[in-house]
């Protein structure tokens, strides 16, 4: 059975341990099976961690590799964009270990391969990807779930993987068919928490399997929306504002997934060039909303209204 070949973020991952969140590559039908982009392995990294002599720091980069340690969870090594080695701590929660593999480790692999990982979700509207970025709790997943419930499939949740096609267009690769929602969002959608598993034992964020509304082909990116909740402004309507020029650069840099690990790996110039290129080719907006109500559907309507304003084909 093991190892298993999975696909996510436009890459093929061959893993020594099961990753139930990911889509399995079907060996007999899918040509992806012919090669592997990244190997995910289990090994004892304790001696190597000692040898790197990291001191009190929990993250260290050396020669195109990044090594980090998470208390009570394990050691994680990403090498040259080709290999993730995991050394789980005895007694660690498997789900928590996988959360780091699926999040930080995969994002670091993307950086090492020149794929830009933004922190956000993306949906598909009329053949174009729309990405939602924002800080933790800003409502990215909830907005994409609201759009999904209106029939716009989910492309990715949490990490938006961007590459460029031969014509210079930004392309979003599919993530994997799972959404992570907080309790208030489950309530907003009328979902029951006992139907879902928590992301890991310590937090009340739920993993929702979403195969039925997952889009598993890459799609060109039309726009990025930054979600900027303003809890102090009560009962204000949802507002959409265009973000121009330099502010885009700052916004996109600050919403790069684990952006602190970019400069640590000596990739600051790469990130700056990448977001400059991205800024020039897409539209960028900021959505503000009051924090008190469940406004995901109102926002979803504003997004689709915006996305479809150019689709008018009358004479």
């Amino acid at each position: 059975m093991l190892p298993v070949q999975y696909k996510a973020y436009g890459l093929s991952w061959l893993s020594q341990f099961p990753m139930p969140e990911l889509q399995i590559v079907q060996n007999d039908t899918d040509s992806l099976a012919a090669y592997t982009d990244v190997n995910i392995e289990i090994a004892d990294l304790a001696a190597q961690w000692e040898a790197w002599d990291v001191g009190s720091d929990n993250f260290v980069s050396r020669n195109g590799s990044l090594f980090f340690r998470i208390e009570d969870t394990g050691l994680f090594l990403m090498e040259q964009g080709r290999r993730i080695v995991v050394s789980p701590q005895v007694g660690a929660d498997d789900k928590k270990v996988r959360l780091f593999v699926l999040g930080t480790c995969m994002a670091v692999i993307m950086m090492q391969r020149g794929i830009l990982p933004l922190h956000g979700s993306a949906v598909v509207i009329d053949g174009w990807a729309y990405a939602f970025v924002g800080h933790s709790g800003a409502g990215k997943s909830t907005l994409s779930a609201a759009l999904a419930s209106r029939g716009f499939p989910l492309l990715t949740d949490d990490v938006v993987a961007l590459t460029w096609d031969a014509g210079g267009r930004a392309i979003v690769s599919p993530g994997y068919p799972q959404q992570k929602l907080w309790q208030p969002s489950l309530d907003g959608f009328g979902m029951k928490e006992q139907d879902y598993a928590t992301v890991h034992a310590e937090i009340t964020k739920y993993a929702i399997p979403v195969q039925h509304y997952f889009h598993d082909r890459p799609v060109p990116l039309a726009a990025v929306f930054e979600l900027d909740p303003k809890p102090e402004e009560m009962l204000k309507p949802v507002q959409l504002k265009e973000v121009a020029g330099l502010e885009r650069l700052h916004m996109l840099c600050s919403h790069t997934f684990r952006s602190g690990l970019v400069s640590r790996q000596g990739l600051a110039q790469w990130l700056f060039e990448t977001v400059s290129r991205l800024s020039a080719g897409i539209e960028v907006f900021r959505i503000t909303r009051s924090g008190s109500d469940f406004t995901a559907f109102e926002m979803a309507d504003r997004i689709t209204e915006y996305a479809r304003k150019g689709v008018y084909t009358g004479q």
């Binding site: 020029g245 700056f272 060039e273």
Partner: protein, 99 residues
């Protein structure tokens, strides 16, 4: 360089290193590592930035730009000085006074 003393043709200009520089739709954009600020130098500003990757006098700079952009020397000098003073103020270049 002080504001009271205008730039002289023999002043030598050199860009500081350590900034992130890129192209955004034909304009040169920059992020200063020192102050964390973002700048848009524009396309002409970007050309000046390229030219001062090695030390040049103001006179040299003005001559190159005036011929490349086909504008009068005096007008060019005035605009280049304004731009350089802005860069100085932001701590992005070094100006060595010449006599």
């Amino acid at each position: 360089m002080t504001a009271t003393k205008p730039m002289n043709g023999e002043d030598r200009v050199l860009r500081k290193e350590g900034n992130l520089v890129s192209d955004m739709g034909g304009e040169k954009v920059m992020m200063s590592i020192h102050n964390g600020k973002y700048y848009n130098l524009g396309s002409t500003g970007g050309r000046i930035w390229d030219l001062i990757s090695e030390e040049r006098t103001l006179t040299e700079l003005v001559e190159v730009l005036a011929s490349e952009y086909e504008i009068e020397l005096d007008l060019c000098r005035e605009q280049v000085i304004q731009f350089l003073e802005h860069l100085t103020h932001e701590g992005l270049i070094d100006v060595t006074r010449g006599e």
